[in-house]
């Protein structure tokens, strides 16, 4: 029987870590992810898990030590947010190019400056091209479920890439919600043990990691990473199917909410999807055909699938919780638009920026976005193709 609980997002991820009982966790505290290493340290102190915690002196060292431990043959993870991940930046690339399937519990927070501890996606979006798999959660249940699936995806022999499990800082990480947990033995059976083929501490076969690769070799390593990222798509779907068997909960690349007959849609990532669903329910009650596409998997980017799911709509608003500073919209909007163009969709796409540094995104904000899409199509009113939601006047 599933276990009914009330947990915050950080507690939920820590609970998943406890059930997985990974080998090594190096970490350095940063708000709002600090609780995750604290909870894990407490589990260790009480003998509930036998993970080795390395209290490193910085996030750069957290990722560096994680790379060392994973290369040595241990299932390894860390947790961070915002500037902590920015300090890891160089190491994110090293982890991915060395094909080390370690996991990062990322609690999304704005990057400095000004310094701000609240949610936006500028940290993980900045790392979108580092070669990590990125999976996002709307709520605590999804954060927990995604973490349980993480190592199965990253360690898969067709993938072998590091994975980032993202949730929204404070909104998800600190808010307590009802949650359904899976029994320990079923989680352990699902995740399994880590049996790497090649690793530093293999007495039968020494191994060298982290070469200097000149031009005749470097490019092939990038192509190999790209192939692994392509392979990750099928693996993510397969693992989701297996996960459904033990949990009863369905996962895919994205969730479609009242989208199949919608004329107007919002594309969004993370906790703001819940707010958008509320707006959709209210507008549907008024007879308006509106829907949502909530991205779960951002890397690999399921572009064609997203474009196909949106192609029947008249217009979509793509809402980014991070600035790209290309003076034309955020990263999600750029990528969705690329794929709409590729499949020749006639859907109009408009870019919005919302929720930076923890700015509220309310039901009325979502309704206003739908109203603008409607005005643009039905009344021929010109609207800005790139705008901020909820700015101070």
């Amino acid at each position: 029987m599933a276990i009914r609980e009330r947990l915050s997002g950080n507690e939920a991820v820590a609970y998943a870590i406890k059930q997985i009982n990974p080998d090594v966790m190096p970490a350095f505290p940063i708000t709002p992810s600090t609780e995750i290493p604290q909870f894990v340290s407490t589990f260790i102190s009480n003998g509930e898990i036998d993970t080795e915690f390395i209290p490193v002196e910085s996030e750069h060292s957290a990722m560096s030590a994680a790379i060392g431990a994973e290369a040595a043959g241990c299932r390894t993870l860390t947790a961070t947010s915002s500037c902590g991940m920015a300090l890891m930046w160089e190491e994110l690339y090293v982890a991915a190019s060395n094909r080390l399937p370690l996991a990062l519990a990322l609690v999304n927070r704005a990057l400095s400056g000004p310094i701000n501890i609240n949610c936006d996606h500028s940290d993980s979006m900045g790392a979108r091209d580092t070669g990590w798999i990125q999976i996002y959660a709307e709520n605590n249940q999804e954060a927990y479920d995604n973490f349980i699936q993480a190592f199965r995806i990253s360690e898969h022999k067709d993938v072998r890439l590091p994975i980032m499990i993202c949730q929204d800082g404070f909104i998800t990480s600190h808010a307590v919600e009802n949650i359904e947990l899976i029994e320990d033995d079923r989680v352990k059976a699902f995740v399994g043990s880590y049996e790497p083929e090649q690793y530093l501490l293999n007495p039968d076969m020494p191994m060298a990691v982290g070469p200097y690769a000149t031009s005749p070799y470097y490019m092939e390593t990038k192509m190999a990473q790209n192939t692994a990222m392509k392979n990750a798509k099928q693996v993510i779907l397969d693992i989701a199917k297996e996960f459904e068997e033990i949990s009863g909960r369905k996962y895919s690349f994205f969730e479609e909410y009242r989208l199949d007959d919608a004329d107007y849609a919002i594309v969004i990532i993370g906790s703001a999807a819940g707010t958008t669903k509320e707006a959709i329910d209210e507008l549907r009650a008024e007879g308006k055909k509106v829907g949502l596409l909530k991205i779960r998997v951002f890397r690999p980017f399921p572009g064609d699938e997203i474009a196909k799911a949106l192609s029947h709509t008249k217009a979509v608003a793509i809402l980014d919780r991070s600035e790209g500073f290309r003076a034309g919209g955020g990263p999600l909007s750029a990528e969705v638009k690329e794929h709409l163009y590729d499949i020749g969709a006639s859907t109009k796409a408009v870019s919005y920026i919302y929720g930076l540094g923890g700015r509220d995104y309310r039901v009325d904000d979502a309704k206003k976005v739908f109203a603008e899409l409607y005005d643009m199509i039905e009344n021929g009113i010109e609207i800005p193709q790139y705008q901020y939601i909820g700015l101070r006047k």
Binding site: E57, S58, S61, G68, P206, V209
Partner: protein
């Protein structure tokens, strides 16, 4: 057991020939000597900060190391090996590994004194059972002889070039061995390449087989950066020791001791004049700089003697 040069030299090489380090490189000699101190039968994971050694000894698809090896980046050799050593403890604890492994990481002075100091300090403070070996050639040689905090005073480097109004690097060297000793780790040693290599070999063996964190600072001349004929390397190292520019010492469980005390301490000029990077100091108008240099060497030497006398 007494040091037997012939026996030690006949141990199997753990750094294979065919790497691309310069002829006469002091760093390579240091690495070979340190690795020779591993007991036969013991396995090792070798770490390496980015630098000359790394780009020359593990150029894809060839590695020069007989043991497992990991290079991560420039500033994190300490943290990287912390992770490897922790993984070893986990695999041992879980009964997945029977063999004995030792953990040794190499970094130049750039990766150790400067960009990697935080990562090194963290690893030493946490007490991982590993040895960090700095092969100190006194500048960023891999990028082309830029000054580091290990560069000696008045050295001519490409970022402290001697010019009409400059006599090279204005600051004195950082005393890294003292900084690491202040971490109160079980073993710190300072050595260089001397005679039959006994000093470096024995310190390496102690560092590797002392449980807990250990640090070795090895002066490793660079013929390109220091500007001397390659065959003079052993003379230069000897003069560094005989002038007390590079004293040999150990700090064991916090107790300082000199490994060697010159009977007749030679003037610092004897060391400086062997190298092109100090050529400008021998112009008649720079005589006062040599006087000042000698005073600084004397001050540091007396300070070290005082620390060693307290035991």
């Amino acid at each position: 057991m007494a040091y037997n040069f012939k026996e030690v030299m006949n141990k199997p090489e753990r750094l294979a020939p065919g790497h691309r380090m310069c002829a006469g490189c002091g760093g390579t000699i240091a690495v070979r000597t340190v690795l020779r101190a591993l007991h036969e039968g013991d396995k090792a994971v070798i770490g390496n900060a980015t630098g000359c050694l790394e780009v020359s000894s593990f150029m894809y698809p060839y590695t020069a190391y007989e043991d497992s090896y990991i290079h991560n980046a420039f500033e994190n050799a300490g943290a990287t090996l912390s992770g490897v050593e922790t993984a070893y403890n986990v695999l041992k604890k879980k009964g997945k590994l029977n063999d004995t492994y030792k953990f040794i990481t190499f970094g130049g002075d750039g990766g150790t004194y400067d960009i990697g100091l935080q990562s090194l300090s963290g690893a030493m403070e946490r007490g991982h059972d590993m040895v960090y070996v700095c092969y100190d050639n006194g500048a960023y040689m891999n990028t082309g002889i830029q000054r580091s905090s290990a560069t000696p005073m008045y050295a001519d480097t490409t970022t402290t070039p001697v010019g009409k109004v400059s006599n090279g690097k204005m600051q004195n060297r950082k005393d890294l061995a003292q900084i690491i000793a202040a971490h109160d780790i079980p073993y710190v040693g300072q050595s260089t390449l001397l005679g039959n290599m006994r000093d470096l070999y024995e310190k390496s063996e102690k560092a590797i087989y002392t449980p807990g964190a250990a640090f070795l600072n090895v002066m490793a001349p660079c013929p390109r950066g220091w500007r001397y004929p390659t065959e003079q390397i052993m003379d230069i190292c000897r003069l560094a020791v005989e002038t007390c520019y590079w004293p040999l010492f150990e700090v064991i469980e916090g107790k300082w001791s000199l490994s060697y005390e010159p009977k007749n301490k030679l003037p610092i000029e004897d060391f400086l004049k062997t190298q092109g990077r100090f050529k400008h100091l021998f112009k008649p108008e720079n005589e006062h700089l040599l006087v000042q240099y000698q005073e600084e060497v004397d001050r540091r030497w007396e300070d070290l003697q005082f620390r060693c006398s307290k035991n």
